[in-house]
């Protein structure tokens, strides 16, 4: 595992977030960033020769189980954040009649 390649995935997500023209495309990019950050954290606790953190006979060295416990929470919370933002996308469509960022932000009532 190379952390630089994983960080590249996070950067691709940021690129998508900043250049997306659609509200739903932004939510897709947030999902990509989240997966990249999880991979980075798991890479921190992992080392060469470490075993899966299940203690049984003959196991002496295990990888750090704390990042794994934190990242399970991140996955579950990330799914709820995705569901909530998609619900807000539907609300945006019914309020402004469009889901394109340019058309939404060019409205006069948003500008003020």
């Amino acid at each position: 595992m190379n952390p630089i390649l994983t960080f590249l995935v996070v950067l691709i997500g940021f690129y998508g977030l900043s250049t997306s023209d659609n509200v739903i495309k932004s939510v897709f990019s947030v999902t990509i960033i989240e997966s990249g950050v999880i991979l980075l954290f798991l890479n921190l606790g992992n080392f060469e020769g470490g075993a899966i953190p299940i203690l049984s006979e003959g196991v002496t060295q295990i990888v750090d189980p704390l990042p794994q416990a934190l990242m399970i929470t991140t996955i579950v919370i990330g799914s709820t954040v995705t569901a909530l933002s998609l619900m807000l996308c539907i609300k945006v469509f019914h309020h402004y009649g469009t889901v394109e960022w340019k058309e939404v932000l060019s409205r006069e009532d948003v500008k003020s």
Partner: protein, 197 residues
């Protein structure tokens, strides 16, 4: 000196291949235009990340990622994208404007159908009696608090049909231009109210 090519074990080769595949899928998600294709790509993205979690000695995280990331999240995306371009019309007139002879052949239906086909919307006409009763004389509140985009009602005095919607909705301006030629159709747009005052 370490020779990086020959010292890599099989699992390292797999990890590198999966990481390059992950970058490829992420770029494809960012540059693609079609939302339906992106859902499939998101599911495969989650599958590749799950295998990378196993390589990082975290099978418990991988199980959670497979269950949530590649099953539930694509399902949520499918539901929201199919409901995203929906144009909900509440029919309070209940006469032959929308439905004539128990079929969708009224003049108003043909107009709304042409409008929604032109802007690639999915027309959804409802005459839910609960919503109709709730909005008795309070059409603006009904528009603001529910997802109803357009309310069709009839003026009993003059007999003309009134289409009511939010002024913030871009589609209302387009509908107003489209119904300019019809004499018996009037469009009313509710302005946003400031609740702070």
């Amino acid at each position: 000196m370490v020779n990086y090519i020959t010292d890599l074990s099989l699992i390292d080769y797999t990890a590198y291949a999966l990481q390059f595949l992950l970058i490829f899928i992420a770029v494809a998600i960012v540059v693609h235009k079609n939302n339906g294709t992106i859902i499939i790509l998101i599911a495969s993205f989650s599958l590749v990340t799950a295998s990378l979690y196993v390589i990082n000695n975290a099978p418990d995280v991988a199980i959670a990622e497979v269950a949530i990331g590649s099953a539930i999240i694509p399902l949520i995306y499918v539901i929201s994208i199919s409901r995203q371009r929906e144009f909900i019309v509440l029919d309070k007139a209940m006469d032959d404007f929308i439905i004539s002879d128990n079929q969708f052949t009224g003049i108003g239906y043909i107009l709304l159908k042409r409008f929604s086909d032109f802007y690639h919307l999915e027309l959804n006409i409802t005459n839910d009696p609960l919503l109709c009763r709730l909005g008795e004389g309070k059409d603006q509140i009904l528009c603001e608090q529910t997802n109803v985009d357009l309310i069709v009602s009839k003026d009993p005095a003059s007999g003309e049909y009134i289409l009511k919607g939010k002024a913030s909705n871009i589609l209302m301006n387009k509908l107003e231009q489209m119904t300019k030629d019809y004499d018996n159709i009037r469009v009313i747009k509710f302005k946003d109210r400031d609740f702070g005052e």
